[in-house]
């Protein structure tokens, strides 16, 4: 074998070996449940291990996306500044990530915990909470503000200077307990296995295990995925102009997986028949890909929401919200306020108050 032949073979072998080594390293970093936990949000360490639902949103990535700016342009002008003036939080720039978790509660309901990371005006938030009836107490060297909302007791506390825990008081206590270590969400192998299936490039995702009592208590009345024999699910979305969504539903056996796939296929077919006059909806339906993995008993559904369709849906949602907030002619007129007699029809303050009340 001549030297140049040898060099070509070694060069090609080198490219191949480098590619395989790089791919293997990426796989080991992202493919295993334990590794998945390591590269997932840091706030997992404040979430109790018995959580059965976790959702994550990279707020910064979403809010700085092109899609978000287009959606904000379509909002009524007085929406965001109000929230900002009250809390000092500018969602678009001050919040980096949000993690939502649900933990089963003895009362067959679910306890909610939100972990928000970003830059917050701590004093302003605490004084706002106190203004609304919150009581300040000390728990594990952290200031904890708790208040009653309906039948629930909610609390908020800063577990780190830039990480805020909000939710059921018991869960905020748990989060503060976990500051010094303990069994956290990364010890939940069920959720970590589901998490390993989520595309690491997703800007937002949710995973949930539904195969134990009380796991669906948080869902709306009438929506019980266990009727379809769904034992777990993952949903992941990536924003890039439009949104690419990937959903996976896990079933206990292959027959259930096939049944679920057939049901979904039927719904999609029915929707396609109905959506002839709506090109935006037809576009979503055309992008849907449905498949079942026989060995894993998982049904996959992916779809793409192009920018035009999202804008259309956003406008419909805003119209719906406007209709919901409109004054019913049958009802007595609202009490006269500063904007009631505005001849130009400028009822923005009244609408703002209405939104706050709601």
């Amino acid at each position: 074998m001549t030297t140049r032949t040898c060099c070509v073979c070694l060069g090609a072998g080198g490219i191949l070996a480098a590619g395989l080594a790089g791919g293997l390293a990426a796989y080991l970093q992202g493919g295993l449940p334990a590794a998945a936990a390591e590269r997932r949000p840091d706030h997992f360490r404040y979430i109790p291990a018995d959580a059965h639902f976790v959702a994550f949103a990279d707020v910064r990535a979403v809010m700085t996306s092109d899609l978000s700016s287009r959606m904000r342009d379509r909002l009524p002008v007085d929406d965001e500044p109000d929230f900002e003036s009250r809390t000092g939080i500018r969602v678009a720039s001050d919040i980096d990530e949000v993690v939502v978790s649900l933990v089963p509660a003895p009362s067959d309901a679910a306890n909610l915990l939100l972990m928000l990371s970003g830059r917050f005006d701590r004093e302003r938030l605490e004084s706002l909470a106190i203004e609304h009836g919150g009581a300040v107490s000390e728990y594990r060297d952290h200031a904890l503000i708790a208040t009653n909302v309906g039948d629930s007791r909610l609390a908020l506390a800063f577990v780190e200077p830039e990480v805020l825990a909000v939710g059921s008081e018991a869960l905020v206590h748990d989060a503060l307990d976990l500051v010094d270590g303990g069994d956290n969400l990364t010890a939940n192998t069920r959720l970590m296995t589901l998490l390993a299936r989520v595309d690491p490039g997703s800007d937002a995702w949710a995973i949930g295990a539904l195969d134990h009592p009380g796991a669906t208590a948080w869902m709306p009345q009438g929506l019980d995925p266990r009727a379809l024999r769904v034992s777990a699910f993952t949903v992941a979305g990536r924003v890039n102009g439009g949104i690419r969504l990937a959903l996976e539903a896990e079933t206990p056996d292959e027959a259930a997986s096939q049944n679920l796939r057939d049901i979904l296929q039927g719904f999609i077919a029915l929707a396609r028949m109905q959506a002839g006059a709506q090109p935006e909806v037809a576009g979503i339906l055309d992008s849907m890909q449905l498949r079942a993995t026989p060995g894993e008993q998982v049904v996959h559904l992916s779809m793409t929401l192009p920018p035009a369709t999202l804008e259309w849906l956003w406008d419909r949602a805003l119209e719906g919200a406007g209709a919901a907030g409109s004054v019913d002619p049958e009802l007595p007129p609202p009490p006269a306020g500063p904007a009631a007699g505005d001849p130009g029809g400028n009822d923005a303050p009244a609408r703002r108050q209405d939104r706050q009340d709601r």
Binding site: M1, T2, R4, T5, V8, C9, A12, G13, I15, L16, A18, G19, L20, G22, G23, L24, A25, A26, Y27, L28, Q29, G30, G31, D66, D199, P200, G201, S202, R238, N240, G241, G242, R244, G283, D286, S287, Q289, R291, S302, T304, P306, P307, A308
Partner: protein, 278 residues
């Protein structure tokens, strides 16, 4: 006389350099470089502002990076590059020596005749692998990260695809080595087989598809085969009562094809009396 193994290694050593620096390699580089160019162009286009979907109203990314990679493996490599390289190189292993009139020199050496074919076959495998497999790796790293794909998550499929391409090169090469050793115009027969016979029989119901290599390769790449392509729909419509074979059946069938055709090629070279045209 040298033993069969040592003789094959000597022929391999001699043939690899000849094969790698022949004009045929330019053709192979073009065939294997096409998908690379497409992949790199796709990557550049996807990362440029024009195709970042910032204002395009259409369905932005109906396919993710791994889907595109799967389609490229299926359409460019398994359905085109691998069979074409198998035909061009496999049929030429002996036919070129016959055509050039140099087979006499090889046969007059104190080595088993079959070792000549085996040595050349091994040189073909190394030569094609050296060009095609790195090209697959480049395509993988260019395409898979697009539109939300993950290099790590898709790594098992890369390994499977590299293995399948290797298997495809081995089986097609062995089959066409036999054709080259047996028939007078092997290239024409080979091209008819891969572009005429195989595309048709894999679509037609019945047992005819069992007489193709593509059918068994196809059975091993469910992740790469397009799900919504018209051809797939047509195939699924035609194959209502015909399930795809299991992976072990496909592997076994490919192993049998490889062993039978390579064995037959060796026997043919051992026994056949080649008449060189003047």
């Amino acid at each position: 006389m040298l033993s069969f193994g040592r003789a094959a290694v000597r022929v391999f050593d001699l043939s690899l350099g000849e094969m790698l620096w022949s004009r045929r390699t330019v053709f192979m580089a073009v065939v294997a470089g096409g998908p690379m160019v497409i992949a790199v162009a796709l990557r550049i286009a996807a990362t440029s502002a024009a195709v970042r979907l910032t204002g395009s109203p259409g369905p932005s990314f109906a396919l993710g990076g791994p889907d595109i990679f799967g389609l490229m493996i299926w359409a460019f490599y398994l359905r085109f590059t691998v069979p074409v390289l198998g035909v061009f190189y496999g049929t030429s292993l002996i036919a070129d020596e016959v055509e050039d009139g140099t087979l006499t020199y090889l046969f007059s050496r104190p080595i088993p005749r079959g070792a000549i074919l085996v040595g050349k076959y091994l040189a073909y495998l190394v030569c094609t692998s050296v060009v095609v497999l790195p090209s697959v790796v480049v395509v993988y790293f260019s395409v898979v990260p697009l539109f939300g794909g993950s290099v790590g998550a898709g790594f098992p499929s890369l390994v499977v695809d590299l293995g399948l391409i290797g298997v495809g090169l081995a089986v097609y090469g062995a089959a066409f080595a036999f054709v080259g050793a047996r028939l007078r115009r092997p290239l024409l027969s080979g091209l008819l087989f891969i572009f005429g016979w195989e595309p048709v029989v894999v679509l037609v119901p019945g047992y005819m598809k069992n007489l193709s290599v593509a059918y068994y390769l196809q059975g091993l790449v469910p992740h790469a085969a397009p799900q919504d392509e018209p051809m797939t729909l047509l195939r699924s419509a035609l194959q209502t009562f015909d399930a795809a074979p299991a992976a072990w059946v496909c592997l076994l069938a490919l192993a049998v094809i490889w062993a039978v055709t390579l064995g037959a090629a060796v026997l043919t070279v051992e026994r056949r009396e080649y008449v060189l045209e003047r």
